[in-house]
């Protein structure tokens, strides 16, 4: 079987995963597609949304569809880094015991690590997680534990702000996507979510997802293969460079937002890590579309999710981040021209 046939088979597997997840999660096709992209681009995802919109359900559905081990941690203000690595207890014989914590428990079989309400965890916990995300390894018990197949999904409740610790910019930068999950607006979907009994029992719902759509332990190899097979032309490279410049100096691209002094808006534009994550994701979008070359539309499809949380505003505008970031990304898409 040659390379192209492999790519084609994996593509079908990826689309199958998507359709399986859509059985359990309706009205969130865009989110499902982007999480799938992140999986095949080997990126981590931060989900933000209202309470009860189905964040956990969508992640559980993905975890089941791709197979491998799933671990979940609830972020609380008293959670300490050690709680992720090990926990101690006294066994029935009265002896103190130390067991691996949720991060180490599954060893290399860990594929999906779901950190619920990450903004409730202390910065020390976030730091540990950052290393686990960036290097897919932690040091404990005088040795290094590796989880090469792990994808971190974190969830942030945007309703409550008390007793929360906002993620540092470095932490946000490590997430490939920051996705905003909203309550579906389509009336038929809303009605089904409320009245269709199939959506009332989440466990039964997750069971409808066919497991093992793709070998989770092959994802790294598949992702590397995809990255190698999708090419970017010179014109596209210029386009991405322009996007990067626009994220750092929007005024140069005639980008204007009402009520915002564009020269004082940006504290830091997208990082090189952010731009490379964007390109990785764009390549996966092209591959899912059956192409071996990148189009500007591939980049635009993931731009709001990759760039929105990577541009940092000066403090005076940071409080209006959600509103300004959306407008800024929309303007960057509209104003940066290609081919050039």
């Amino acid at each position: 079987m040659n390379r192209e046939e492999h790519l084609q088979d994996w593509r079908e597997a990826a689309l199958r995963i998507e359709s399986e997840v859509r059985k359990a999660v309706i009205g969130q096709d865009g989110i499902v597609r982007l999480i799938n992209v992140a999986l095949f681009a080997r990126g981590h995802v931060l989900l933000e949304g209202d309470v009860g919109v189905g964040k956990t359900t969508v992640l559980r559905a993905f975890a089941r569809a791709i197979g491998g081990d799933f671990e979940r941690v609830e972020g609380t203000v008293d959670l300490m880094p050690n709680d992720l690595v090990y926990h101690t207890y006294v066994d029935g014989d009265g002896k103190p015991r130390i067991e691996p914590g949720p991060l180490l428990r599954h060893g290399e079989r860990l594929t999906t690590f779901f950190f619920n309400e990450i903004n409730r965890a202390r910065p020390q916990v976030q730091s540990l997680l950052l290393r686990a995300m960036a290097e897919r390894s932690v040091s404990a018990f005088n040795r290094e534990y590796r989880f090469p197949h792990m994808t971190v999904f974190a969830d942030r409740n945007k309703v409550e702000k008390e007793e929360t610790f906002e993620l540092a910019s470095a932490a946000r930068d490590r997430f490939m996507f920051e996705l905003r999950m909203e309550t579906p607006r389509e009336p038929s979907v809303r009605r089904a979510l409320v009245f269709d009994t199939a959506f009332h029992d989440v466990d039964a719902l997750i069971d409808t997802v066919a497991p093992g759509g793709v070998d989770a332990f092959q994802l790294n190899a598949i992702a590397a293969h995809i990255q190698r097979s999708v090419s970017a032309s010179e014109a596209l490279e210029r386009y991405v460079m322009d996007l990067w410049d626009a994220s750092q100096n929007p005024a140069a691209f005639d980008i204007r937002i009402e009520g915002v002094d564009m020269k004082r808006l940006i504290l830091a534009g997208a990082s090189p890590r952010g731009m490379s994550a964007m390109l990785r994701a764009a390549r996966v979008v092209a591959w899912l579309d059956g192409r071996t070359h990148l189009l500007p539309d591939d980049v635009r499809a993931i731009l709001p999710s990759t760039l929105g949380h990577r541009v940092f505003f000066t403090p005076v505008y940071e409080m209006r981040r959600a509103q300004i970031a959306d407008a800024l990304i929309a303007q960057i898409i509209d104003k940066v021209a290609t081919p050039r």
Binding site: L236, H293, L295, R300, I333, A337, T338
Partner: protein, 338 residues
């Protein structure tokens, strides 16, 4: 002047003072004869009664009295005998009765020239209020004598079903347009020119004409200026007109040509467009919807050219060239603008 000469002529003919009451009757009403029942010739004849032009030059020659022809003479209403000049039409009416009975006239006298002085117009038959039938003959005086001259309406013999009707000659006087020498004394030797017509003051008219011409000219100039300015502005501000200008100096196959057209699309839609966002162009400029297929082909070809690598290049051939597409778009754009 004409009335003056006519009055002179009449005075000479009638030997009455000019400054008297008008001696001219208003209507021709001379009835010359009663019908005679004798049989006569059977042909219509036109005896030459007119004098030769040379002979008629004799000044103030008195006309000979009407010659009474032998045979039945028709009752004729003659025109006035005096006071005629060139151009006058003399009407003669002949009662078509023989022995008190109305008769038919199978053949009317022919129209045409009668000698030097007269021309007969086409004759016609008239019926009066009493039911009598008349032959109407109109003669026009077509020459002007140099002196007062007697001219005769020709005698006629009218062949009717009931016999011949004689119409005798009828002399009339014809006056010259002007005497050769009216007074021959003092400064009255020669004809004086007509009095010059009084000149109307045209200065205000001319002034108004100039004013309105100037206004009209200014208006036309302003309109032409506006038209030229609008075209000039359109060529610089309308996206596809601008693109077309730029494309005139670029080869169709150069990347710059494609990029120029891309920028025109972007300006038109107000955003950087790609194939997936083309709907924004048609929402904002629905006038381009008829070219949707061509525009989509252009974007597909452009994507193959700039992003797709060389393998996808053949699809470029199916699309319109940038210049042709820009031309079609600019023409729609211009129509929409006006």
């Amino acid at each position: 002047m004409k009335h003056f000469i006519r009055a002179l002529a009449c005075a000479g003919l009638l030997h009455v003072p000019l400054a008297g009451a008008d001696p001219l009757p208003a209507t021709p009403a001379d009835v010359t004869a009663a019908p005679d029942a004798t049989s006569a010739q059977t042909e219509t004849s036109e005896p030459v009664a007119e004098p030769a032009p040379g002979a008629s030059a004799a000044p103030a020659a008195a006309p000979s009295p009407p010659v009474r022809p032998a045979g039945p003479v028709a009752q004729v209403e003659q025109p006035r005998a005096w006071g005629h000049s060139i151009g006058d039409v003399l009407s003669q009416r002949v009662l078509l009765q023989v022995e008190g009975r109305t008769v038919d006239l199978p053949r009317l006298p022919d129209p045409g020239r009668i000698g030097v002085w007269l021309e007969r117009r086409p004759a016609r038959i008239e019926t009066d209020a009493e039911g009598r039938r008349w032959l109407r003959l109109d003669y026009q005086l077509i020459n002007a004598p140099q002196a007062l001259t007697a001219v005769s309406l020709p005698a006629l013999e009218l062949r009717t079903a009931a016999g011949i009707l004689q119409v005798p000659a009828w002399p009339v006087s014809a006056a010259p347009l002007t005497p050769r020498s009216a007074f021959a004394e003092g400064a009255l030797h020669t004809l004086q020119p007509d009095r010059a017509a009084p000149a109307i003051d045209t200065a205000p008219l001319r002034q108004q004409f100039l004013l309105w011409s100037a206004l009209c000219g200014t208006l036309l100039l302003a309109w032409a200026g506006w038209f030229a300015w609008r075209n000039w502005r359109s060529a610089r501000s309308l996206p596809f007109a601008r693109a077309l200008r730029a494309l005139r100096v670029l080869g169709d196959d150069t990347p710059e040509a494609w990029q120029v057209l891309h920028r025109a699309f972007d300006r038109c839609a107000g955003a950087s467009l790609q194939a997936a966002s083309l709907h924004r162009l048609f929402e904002r400029a629905p006038q381009f919807v008829p070219l949707r297929a061509d525009i989509e082909r252009f974007y597909a070809a452009s994507a193959a050219r700039f992003f797709g690598g060389h393998a996808a290049m053949p699809s470029t051939a199916a699309a319109m060239s940038p210049r042709a597409l820009a031309q079609a778009l600019a023409s729609i754009e211009r129509r929409h603008e006006s």
